[in-house]
Point group: C2
Chain length 438, copies 2
């Protein structure tokens, strides 16, 4: 059971998962509520790619090595007179993917005469401090922390102001979503001399220690399903036992593999657990990209995808097999909206632009976010939060131990009232899972 | 010449020297201006000694080792009801020595119902992360930074609030002088959720890069001598050439060694440079402890010691030998006020409670404070600020390179207007060298 907990929680902590992941598009685009119920109008996203040499270790002097951090600049609307700089505090993925999915910055660039800067987070995309060796061991991963990332951002902004004529005295505003939203907020908290303000979208800065109950996030995900169709969450709730009953023997596993069109058939109890984790992740992801318009962030999806999913999940009292055939239809909305998939692949839940190795390490060190389910307030199988097991698994995987209280020591937890000019913004409606964590 | 520059500047950067060093007593005691023109009344300084286990590296996870940080608590005046916590952000020395020399905290403890906490800075006093090996090489010194020290302070305060019943909701105020004053200010800037305010005494937070001209500090020291007696600074100004002329040959060196009562006679040009550096340091130290009452901080001294010194330095136009005999009398005020010294020892300028090894490393990495003299606006031999030479010497000594712009990136330089509740306080009068740097 301990291990299962971890699998589920690690899943949560995988990019695109439990960290109310990069809903930059979601949270930011929807600031334009009146127009955003259809797909975004096409904006020409033209940017140039640059690199800046950064110290691998900003907080020590023994290691004098450097790496190239990638960043993008879009300056077609920038003006030296009265202009500004919008600075995207890159999170756990390829910066070009974030750049293409952060419509809000492009939308407001002209009005603000703004230069858009998208900074890649170290250890993601092309910004790898030790190249291919970056994830090799805890020695190479040692410089993957939020503090180092913020220091990179600070040095980058200083560099831009020093080298771009006209930029020196312009205000810089930090923007980011999800983990990037935390970074935007923390950046303003720690470097107020460098950014005049921050827009932190869907930033779960209180999802640490016991600041919020560990069950809150999954409860909100459940609420999204509850509100999207009658009996929808109840159907999902019933599905776990149905899976457990059906997979007691090989015949049942074969049947289920077929019914769910799995690319790789289930063979043992471990596969069954993996299946349940994968399905859980899918529901969580849907909650995070439940946009009111067609979109393609984690996956290509219809407008209000959870409503579409719930059309298949209206009756929780069906036979196990009928129920799971409906679950397949529901999963198919997420994994096969395009109709191209020949089978469902349990090893994929979202875009490969997110950096899962780096994120797994960060979740095992600083970004320790307790998640749990109890199967009563939420529609998932009960999984308590178990720091000890989590810690042991982290040590096994990366040779490091989580330090769950550190983020609160560093960034203040709920005691952030002395800071100014930080806008925390959730999704467009009460449907947003990350919004309500705050 | 390059090397000489370094020697002088390194001297400046030695504890008790150019960093307007720990004038905690000076700046803090004098807040009670009306009573402080005599020696402090005797307060019973009763404290208990404690240790807290701290991570050696707060900013990485590969190194999981810990060390014991020492701290002192004085709680005789502390009240659970309506009380507060005054937190001394320890600087570059033994915390017990600072504790005994920070009268202000003891003076206000009763009125504020305050618990006094004195936290020792890592790598000083007994708080050595690697014991006797702490200064062995750049690998062991890698965790000696202001950021690590502030993180220690944050964790210590969290620990005290968690473990001392009644402390949890009390306000904590950071206090410190000189480098410790910088730390107090920076602590409030970076951890406003942990300290509600800071009293930063004689904290030269702008003595970095080109925020203030590099000559400012020595110019202010010179002003102190100018104002303390007619022809005083001019006499000192004349003394350098007199030394240079006298020490052109061995006979002159012997004469001068005798005249200055040096414990170790001068033998070569290097010794002569060392002598001039040592004398310069002495004048700087005098400016930093020019208290209006008898004191014993860096050395036992009379009230207004510079006035006493200047009584011996009224005529700059004497013969070289006469002038230097007077310089001896002046030095003797600083080194032999007690009358116990049989000779003057060039290897000592102040108390051994300050940690010179650690400070030399910090000055070579983060705390890079440019100092210079031109012999025109000040009374010293001209010494330009030469970062290249300084850097080379640092690399030779410690295997590290200074990063002069880092402190400004981290703490904002002059752009600190978004912070609140920080009192920057200089010395009691315009005589304070560190005050005017700000």
């Amino acid at each position: 059971m301990g291990r299962l907990v971890l699998l589920l929680l690690l899943a949560f902590l995988m990019p695109g998962l439990a960290i109310p992941v990069p809903p930059a598009l979601k949270a930011l685009s929807n600031l334009h509520l009146s127009t955003s119920f259809t797909s975004r109008p096409s904006v020409v996203m033209k940017y140039s790619i640059h690199y800046i040499e950064q110290k691998i270790d900003h907080f020590g002097f023994k290691n004098d090595k450097t790496f190239n951090q990638r960043y993008l600049i879009a300056d077609q609307h920038w003006r030296k007179e009265g202009g500004s700089i919008l600075f995207y505090t890159g999170n756990e993925g390829d910066i070009i993917w974030f750049c293409n999915n952060t419509g809000f910055m492009w939308d407001v660039a002209e009005e603000l005469k703004a230069m858009l800067v998208f900074a890649e987070h170290r250890y993601y995309g092309q910004s790898l401090p030790f190249g291919a060796d970056s994830f090799r061991d805890s020695r190479h991963l040692n410089f993957l922390t939020s503090e180092q990332a913020l220091a990179d951002f600070a040095e980058l902004i200083k560099h831009l102001k020093r080298t771009i004529p006209g930029a020196e005295n312009q205000p810089v505003i930090a923007l980011g979503g999800s983990y990037g939203g935390m970074l935007a907020a923390w950046f303003r908290m720690k470097y107020p001399h460098i950014v005049v303000g921050a827009l932190a979208a869907s930033a779960p800065i209180w999802q640490f220690e016991d600041i919020v109950p560990c069950g809150v996030f999954m409860k909100i995900v459940t609420t999204d399903f509850k509100r999207s169709g009658p009996n929808c969450s109840e159907s999902i709730q019933s599905s776990w036992d149905a899976i457990n009953r059906l997979t007691r023997n090989g015949t049942g596993m074969d049947w289920l593999s077929e019914a769910l069109h799995l690319c790789t058939p289930l063979k043992n109890a471990q596969d069954v657990q993996h299946l349940k984790d994968w399905i859980s992740e899918t529901w969580v992801n849907l909650a995070m990209v439940d946009y009111p318009y067609e979109s393609n962030f984690l996956q290509p999806l219809p407008a209000w995808p959870i409503k579409v999913v719930c059309q298949y999940l209206k009756n929780p009292n069906l036979s196990d097999k009928k129920l799971l055939q409906n679950i397949f239809q529901a999963l198919n909305v997420y994994y096969n909206y395009s109709g191209q998939a020949r089978c469902l692949n349990m090893s994929e839940t979202s875009t490969s632009s997110l950096g899962s190795l780096g994120w797994s390490y960060q979740a095992c060190t600083e970004i320790v976010m307790p998640f749990c389910t109890n199967g009563i307030d939420d529609m998932f199988e009960p999984q308590p939060w178990d720091l000890k097991t989590f810690s042991d698994e982290c040590f096994k995987q990366w040779g490091v131990k989580p330090r769950p209280s550190w983020i609160t020591s560093m960034y203040g937890g709920k005691n952030i009232s002395s800071h100014t000019n930080i806008i925390f913004r959730g999704g467009p409606s009460s449907r947003s899972p990350s919004q309500q964590c705050l």
